[in-house]
Symmetry: C2
Subunit: 603 residues, 2 copies
């Protein structure tokens, strides 16, 4: 299937847009009128540019408020159209997108609309141009795709077809099954857009909140299956009005867009039972390791030691330490000299039954493949970059090749058994991109997106996990426009968190995040835990949550650079992440440490 994108979907000048979408591998573009008007190049030169970049100009759009008008207005509307036809000829495209009329003056008269669209199609035919009529969800009288199609059928001209736009169909709640009644060769264009399921004015929803397929709540796979069953042979064309994409890096957006289409092609192939060119997803089977880069090995090593980890190995040729406890493994490497933070999470090792296949799939989904400088003789490790720059290594579950250069002693056993989850911090505009990446590349399923009040802004957070909970990631997103990134953390699964907390409280160095007393006073109101349990939680700085499946106990360490650790114990089948406690934790993380003496204020 040809892959196309409307130029309105990415940021920049028209020439920048064309370059970005060509680089991401698109076959074609729809030229959005405003992008043409603001471009200093005449249409002929834009056509050359596109050709040079291997891009077909699939359509010129939109032409508005044409049909179902009083007969005396028609001449002026045809005059407008003639000007557009001339631009299209110069631009080298033969498809004009006409939106259903939204103006108050147009008539609720299908026969009139059809007659006037036929006139338009006749004129278009003189220029070798085809017209695709699209029912806008907020069209004055024509606002459903089947109504639009009835008018096209009534007009009955070979140069007039319909344009289907998934947003206009699904936002109205129309049943897309009716698409199969339309002959595929009368669907001149298929525009694809997803959107989060919002209860709001459909025009505002469409103009600001569209997103790429798989990033919202619409069933685009089902819709595309219906369209393909008609025999439609045109492009899959993304038309995404999104405030964020308008200002994001064009190259990055174009890759995100292309990834969404590749993933959509795969899922529709599954529905239709046709073959997919993608390697099948090899779900990660656990965390092989997490790697922290730091300027302060001593401090971080001290913290890991306090948590019960031991340094089990040193990389043969590179300055990387391996710290272990049970099956929880942390690598400590040196931070890049130019890094703005002294400590951050830089890599995650994911166990895979077939690392090469996992990497191949990631690459097919446009994840940047990382070239690691390796010493001669070192084993190959397959790695790609995640959206936030974290390196993802695919590690053989059966044979820990990555561990070989460490020549490590046996890990100590303690209460910490493994990594429960890893929380990654993203800038405010990477929410949808990151979720799509982990879903498509790793096959993780998104949990509900939640909002968490930080004292300095609203964070968003979304967990992603496989069904078994072997790999859980939480994607934390900075407040809109914020420059600082959220913290990153590694949550460690503990089988006796009370014992661990007691040991940590007894240490001379205070490594635990203080929790406000007001939290514990309120906990007493929230849950009837009994006085003794309550006192223990307060004393040990443990936070508490409960869901219908079980209980959750957790504690946090102080933060080093961008990184902190969480110790968690899931009792019963608790499925969450203690999100109700997150605002208090965030407030505590912002609270300056009390001055040691004399007895200070505490804030």
């Amino acid at each position: 299937m040809r892959k196309s994108i409307a130029t309105v979907s990415v940021s920049g000048s028209l020439t920048e847009k064309l370059e970005a979408v060509a680089r991401a591998g698109f076959d074609g573009v729809e030229i959005f009128e405003n992008d043409l008007l603001g471009c200093p190049l005449p249409p002929e030169r834009i056509r050359e540019r596109a050709e040079h970049l291997g891009l077909r100009v699939e359509a010129y759009q939109p032409f508005r408020d044409f049909e179902a008008v009083a007969p005396d207005r028609l001449a002026d509307h045809l005059r407008r159209a003639e000007h557009k036809f001339r631009v299209m000829e110069r631009l080298g495209t033969d498809l004009m997108l006409v939106c259903s009329n939204t103006s108050p003056g147009c008539a609720d008269d299908d026969a009139l609309a059809a007659e006037q669209l036929r006139r338009l199609a006749e004129r278009a035919a003189d220029h070798g141009i085809r017209v695709a009529y699209e029912a806008l969800a907020w069209g004055r009288h024509v606002d459903t795709y089947l109504h639009g199609w009835r008018i096209v059928r009534m007009a009955d001209h070979p140069n007039l077809g319909t344009c289907l736009d998934s947003f206009h169909i699904l936002s109205r709640g129309s049943d897309p099954g009716g698409i199969e009644a339309i002959p595929g060769d009368r669907i001149f264009l298929l525009q694809l857009a997803d959107a989060p399921l919002l209860a709001m004015d459909v025009l505002q929803w469409s103009r600001h909140y569209r997103c790429f397929p798989g990033q919202g709540g619409f069933d685009l796979t089902g819709l595309l299956a219906h369209v393909l069953r008609t025999g439609y042979a045109g492009p899959l064309s993304l038309e995404i009005f999104n405030d964020g994409f308008r200002q994001a890096d064009a190259g990055r957006t174009a890759v995100d867009a292309m990834r969404s289409l590749i993933a959509l092609e795969e899922s529709v192939a599954r529905v239709l039972g046709t073959g997919s060119p993608l390697p099948r997803p090899a779900q990660p089977e656990g965390f092989a390791f997490a790697e922290l880069a730091t300027r302060d090995h001593k401090r971080l090593g001290g913290l890991l030691g306090a948590l019960g980890f031991a340094r089990t190995g040193q990389h043969e040729t590179r300055p990387i330490e391996l710290w272990e406890q049970g099956r929880a493994r942390i690598l400590l490497s040196r931070v890049h000299p130019e890094s703005p933070t002294d400590t951050s999470l830089v890599a995650i090792g994911l166990e895979s039954a077939d690392p090469a296949l996992s990497a191949e799939r990631a690459q097919a989904l446009l994840a940047p493949v990382l070239a690691r400088h390796r010493a001669p003789g070192e084993a190959r490790l397959d790695a790609v970059a995640a959206p936030d720059g974290t390196e993802l290594f695919f590690c053989d579950t059966g044979r820990a090749v990555w561990r070989e250069p460490f020549d490590a002693v046996s890990p100590p056993s303690g209460h910490v058994g493994r990594i429960d989850h890893v929380a990654l911090g993203h800038p405010w505009d990477q929410f949808d991109e990151a979720a799509l990446f982990y879903r498509a590349v790793l096959g993780l399923q998104p949990h509900e997106s939640v909002e968490v009040a930080d004292p300095y802004g609203l964070l968003r957070s979304r967990a992603m996990s496989d069904a078994a909970g072997a790999v859980r990631l939480t994607l934390d997103i900075a407040p809109v426009g914020a420059r600082a990134l959220p913290g990153q953390h590694i949550a460690l699964a503990d089988d006796d968190i009370v014992a661990t907390a007691r040991r940590l409280r007894a240490l001379p160095d205070d490594v635990l995040l203080p929790v406000p007393g007001n939290y514990y006073d309120d906990l007493r109101a929230r849950f009837d835990l009994g006085e003794e349990r309550h006192r223990e939680l307060r004393e040990l700085r443990l936070m508490y949550d409960r869901d219908e499946y079980g209980e959750f106990l957790h504690l946090f360490t102080v933060t080093v650079g961008r990184v902190f650790f969480e110790i968690v114990q899931r009792v019963g089948g608790y499925r969450g992440f203690g999100t109700d406690n997150a605002p208090v934790r965030l407030a505590a993380q912002h609270t300056p440490a009390p001055s040691p003496a004399p007895a200070g204020d505490g804030d």
Copy 2:
């Protein structure tokens, strides 16, 4: 009237919030539960802090999902309440806000709700605490204020009253006239929030889009008048859930909040015919001058000269030049050495019939008064800082005191007669604050807010003007999260823009912004202007617009630093600002100048 604000309305730790709202002049606060929970201070210390800052703790909130439950749940809910009562005693507040139950388990049974609330009020009375019951717009069964009031009346306990929240009343479209049926002493709390008129899910609307009175679309003056007629003597308390405020500077938000209440008090005093403590608004009568600070006097002077301005004076004691044409006056001063831009708009002189009164009003509305360093003997100039930092000078319409130190020659007369409007550029989060400032301080009326597509993000723009059009400002707002600020410009009214444009085209230095040819091709489709007129526009780089009142011709100069000039001619009664042309103008401003030779690409 006491003025209060809920701590959720501003950013920061609880102690930072208290300090910010005290500094802005508030009398009290509602303590939002999450702010308390995250605070390291115990409630007693928070109480001391508030007292020390002169703040009364008006309420503790919210207590949720209490009433109309199965009898076996009541004991647990009362247990919860007892914990909150104890916290409130320590906090030193006697008012608890209880929201109508939203949980699926509660019964649609007013008698049960009333009985259980009565039980709560009895317990509260033992602690000297009062309970204010509030109907949430999304309450499960109780979602209108009159329904809430009926239940309070039915419960009939002196410690139970109602809380009215303007958002919950007006978002539901309830008639606020019914408020007058409630005895004022049974209204325990009035919460005020405005909001833009959005068609969306009311919960999301409430949680993210509330704003300060006068910044949205609700008639808060009318609602407040109803409340005051009941004899209500409690505080006006702002409870604003707004994603922007959560992350903005707390001090700035608190001042914005206080300004909104002062302006609301004035407008309600007008409705009730009571006296207002504010000096009456003295509407500006025209632009006295605009001041540009620059590192490059020569370049800017050259540009002004090309536009027909002459340097008519030099400040006696300071390095400021006066440039004039007709009644358009531009001051050129030296840029602050630490300014990041080489040229920016720094001040506007506004003609006022009573400058001292205008300044007094601005000060009463918390505009920062500017202390200008003046030479001895210089006349006093009243000036305040606008939200974007622009200095606003109030200048006597009758006697141009500001002009005296220039000892200037007579201005030349040309086609430019006066300043038509000035466009100010704001960061993305100052939209509502700026509009409220100009409306309250200067008495300007807001036009419709519009969105303008820049190639690198969506700008918002809102014009503000007096009824006569003597002073027009446009507030341009950067895309969400963008670091760069929009350009600033001075638009000059011209009585023969064609002659001016012809002269400018003939100059050896090209000072006009190039306009893409595609714009003119499309203009032919948009308007039937005739070939000759069309050719003239294209040749002279004039842009064109039309509304129901008349025509608009405009052109733009190149940009120097952050600043460019626009020349405009309003033909007939055209009221707009040529906004339809703004995307093309913005695209042209982003287009790099073509290299001089050999004939380049143009982009």
